[in-house]
Symmetry: C2
Subunit: 551 residues, 2 copies
């Protein structure tokens, strides 16, 4: 009984706190609950009791859901949400009793984590890292026999020379080792054809902490809004919620291959402003996550112009810049676009995020990445530095790897050829996998799927029968979550329901990575097909003239 009261009271307090600290959520909610029922309206009595309980002295725990930060309680992160927890439980079950389930392994297609599915690290990068981790190897003659190319050894020397005291075990400058930042800047300049400076690089433990830093800087209260795509990578909605801001969605247009239209941006900004929201920044993910589209240059120009006119910071998530799978598209950084339009550092605050976790390298476990920060005045830059300094610095292996991906072996280097074989092998295989999965999805009844032009995901749309939607409702789950759960239980394949990324009202999707190794793709496709066909057979809406008598 007491437990029941506490639970009710908890939900009431959580709801009332949400009301007190956040304006009405933008509709649709960016990351709806997977299966948790929405809290019932708070009754004054329940709220009073919860408060009385949480402040009474002895007997109650010092920390409960009633008394934690409601911003923590509120946000969702579906990429590692309930469906993944369920998959982990099934995996443990499989481990204990391999015969207990209708499949023999869990296939994690929920997250862009290539090495977990068998992708091998790029040899050159790992050789350099191992030498930097244990520089004593560099002094030994046997080392040459162990390493595939002399330029890995040479590169390790060069990197160590850039690190004060060659101390890879020391905290660096809070933006990262200056010499490595300069190397990254040179890589950016070579990519874009425009100047870049190491002073503008902030090395971070992956792109996520960089995104948090910018949100922390820009968001003062729930009156500050950040424009984000829908569907979006839920890092953004989570970070905005954690920092107490307002998520201002703009919709990507599924009909035009997840097109990003400036008219839609303008409409959403105006609407947010009419509600008293100060829109601070625009998030663009290019190539798109979860949608896989690659923006056209003309489109990017319009977006830059829009940010300039509206006084917005452009937060460019460009972590998939090396993942392009179609001939007719190319990656252009937003900085290159802005500079090519004649805009200088004085015209437009622009932050570009990059990560060692994506691309052909996929080194998620190294937690390396950087942001290139341009167009902020010196005072504000100093504050960004201060925020970076509280965590002292990012990990040095990640810093080194960030410099390597922006300055890989070049023509003429001993390792160049073998490096390119590895690199192109990965990229072209990803392209084939994307195509095979897309075609498989499109071949099925009730599924349509845009092409993955880039990134690591497909985001197929489920045209679910009414009967399936009814079954989901009866189970207390969102229809796409219900589908994903049934898929997991039947096949061991883990995908993320579209509701975790946000989707147009009344539409249902799921995100599926293209990362299982190529030799597994046919089996995955046939397992998927078999499940889907059975699912449709179970739920297919029966038209009237086919209805059995008596229905």
């Amino acid at each position: 009984m007491r437990r029941f009261l506490t639970d009710r009271a908890r939900r009431a307090v959580a709801a009332s706190l949400r009301g007190a600290t956040r304006p009405a959520a933008p509709s649709p909610a960016p990351a709806a609950a997977l299966s948790r029922p929405s809290p019932s309206a708070p009754s004054a009595m329940a709220a009073y009791m919860a408060r009385a309980m949480s402040t009474s002295a002895a007997g109650t725990p010092p920390v409960s859901l009633d008394t934690i930060n409601p911003k923590v309680l509120e946000f969702k992160y579906a990429v590692r949400g309930e469906i993944v927890t369920h998959a982990q439980n099934l995996e443990q079950e499989l481990h204990k009793n391999p015969e207990s389930l209708p499949f023999d392994e869990i296939l994690y297609c929920n997250i862009g984590n290539p090495h977990s599915l068998g992708q091998q690290p790029v040899t050159f990068f790992r050789e350099v890292l191992s030498l930097c981790d244990h520089p004593a190897l560099l002094d030994k003659s046997e080392t040459h026999a162990l390493y595939s190319s002399s330029d890995a050894i040479e590169r390790a020397w060069q990197i160590l020379e850039k690190i004060p005291g060659r101390a890879t075990g020391a905290y660096s400058h809070s933006q990262g080792v200056k010499g490595l930042r300069d190397e990254i800047a040179a890589g950016i300049a070579a990519r874009d054809g425009f100047h870049a400076s190491g002073d503008n690089i902030f090395l971070t433990d992956g792109a996520s902490p960089a995104v948090h830093m910018m949100m922390q800087l820009l968001i003062r209260s729930e009156k500050d809004g950040i424009l984000c795509p829908l569907p979006q990578y839920p890092l953004y909605s989570a970070s905005i919620a954690l920092h107490g801001g307002s998520f201002v969605p703009y919709f990507l247009d599924e009909e035009t291959g997840w097109g990003l239209e400036v008219d839609e941006l303008k409409k959403q900004v105006d609407e947010a402003r009419s509600k008293g929201i100060t829109v601070r920044a625009l998030v663009v993910i290019n190539p798109g996550n979860p949608t896989g589209q690659v923006l056209a240059e003309e489109n990017q120009k319009k977006i830059v112009e829009f940010c300039k006119n509206e006084g917005l910071v452009l937060l460019a998530d460009e972590v998939y810049q090396e993942n392009i799978y179609v001939e007719d598209k190319q990656f252009h950084s937003f900085k290159k676009i802005a500079r090519s339009m004649g805009y200088t550092d004085d015209d437009l605050p622009l932050v570009s995020f990059q990560s060692v976790s994506k691309g052909y390298y996929g080194e998620c476990g190294k937690r390396g990445g950087y942001m290139e920060v341009t167009g902020f005045n010196a005072d504000v830059r100093e504050q960004i530095y201060k925020v970076a300094s509280v965590n002292l610095c990012s990990n040095i292996s990640g810093q080194i790897l960030s410099s390597l991906i922006m300055n890989p072996p070049k023509v003429g280097d001993e390792s160049y050829e073998s490096f390119m074989v590895e690199r192109d092998g990965i990229i072209s295989s990803l392209a084939r996998r994307a195509k095979a999965l897309e075609e498989a999805f499109n071949s099925l009844e009730g599924i349509t799927c845009n092409k993955a032009e880039g990134a690591m995901y497909l985001f197929p749309r489920l045209h679910l029968p009414q009967k399936a939607i009814g079954a989901a409702q009866a189970a207390g789950a969102a229809p796409d979550a219900y589908y994903a759960l049934r898929l997991l239980q039947a096949t061991g394949i883990v995908v993320v329901p579209g509701s975790g990324f946000g989707q147009a009202p009344g539409t249902y999707h799921f995100r599926c990575t293209i990362l299982p190794q190529e030799d597994k793709i046919p089996a995955i496709i046939s397992r998927f097909k078999e499940f889907h066909e059975k699912f449709m057979d179970e739920f297919r809406d029966v038209s009237r003239d086919e209805a059995p008598t008596g229905a």
Copy 2:
């Protein structure tokens, strides 16, 4: 003129925002400004103009100090603050023109960063790391010739077996690799003699992100307070400010060797509560930073009892657990103390922070660490996991190193002897350096210094002449900041002013690490002495009977 107005307006807005979002700061301010004059009282006109400027459309930058998150603007982080920036500028000057300054190198005694000052990494740890970074080495016969012991190779194999797919390049579970967490838990159990579970370990990129996670969880608004020592490591004041909470200070007693008295805790909690603050947690740093004291077991018991009675979370910063320099003191974890008192997981929420950056290893650049989270209910634990999951996971090298420091070579292992020689060499040298510096400080006029029983710092007190305090005021600086700046300019030695850590009103200190290599200590001491004596000669208060005629 416009710039002047903007600056005035900026300060006015910042001040008014501070007023609006935070209650009166606890006195004394935990981290007072180094040299920035306090903002003048906002005039309504200036505030109005600033607001008008910041919201006017075109022409003004989208982001300025007026429009960033005031919590970012407010917090200070002296360990990498203005004095360090000044030192970095001097270093560049030295680099360009080695003869321009009265010293030939900058000695960074501002930060616990041992490898930056020449401490060598522990061989066993780095051997294992390099093998895990490039597992292909493990398959080659030449590898044995390169590595000093076969157990490093064996350990690398064991670690890879714990990582799913041996993929050190994959994101792990958001708490860290389960097998590594289990190994850490076994190390904790061996240390404490009480059970520990890998399920309670959250691996993080150093201890700082773990502290932020707990602050994010616990702080709902400025009405939530966190009890922190004064002096304190400014990570705490910075994190509390960034998360919008109230810093509730308790004073360590310098007279009794920086004693932590429960009466003082009680007094401060009661006072905070009388102001409407809900005190959520107590931060204890043991061994102390910046103070170097090691708590006695009896004292720790009283602290645990206090937290239990007052319903506080105990946040135990135990990152210096291996840095103990005196015979009569020993490290006891708070969990061991609590369990030895009979308190179980149900009695007391307790978080212990550990890091690979400290101890004899000092691997700051690896950004490894963990928190052991006990005494929270499952609902709340789930929320902590959710916060961890937004950044996906901590870096795998840091995770591996965390497991190594909690499970170093043991008696009987091939590498044990050489490992112990390295380990003990570092610890005993640190103890000698601490003693030499302490004695040197205590030998000087106007300085008193407690013993460093542990950690990596001394926190000497400056008994400054009135004339020196006057000179500091004339220069617009805090007296200890003025002293630190003069020291830097005369000797190249970088210390952090006591005001960066907080100190009892009217007292002045500085924090100086004990980390310069041992062969440099005599020269540092003589440079320091020479500076200090000149400083005292310049400012010594002249007593009346010695006053020159006419003064």
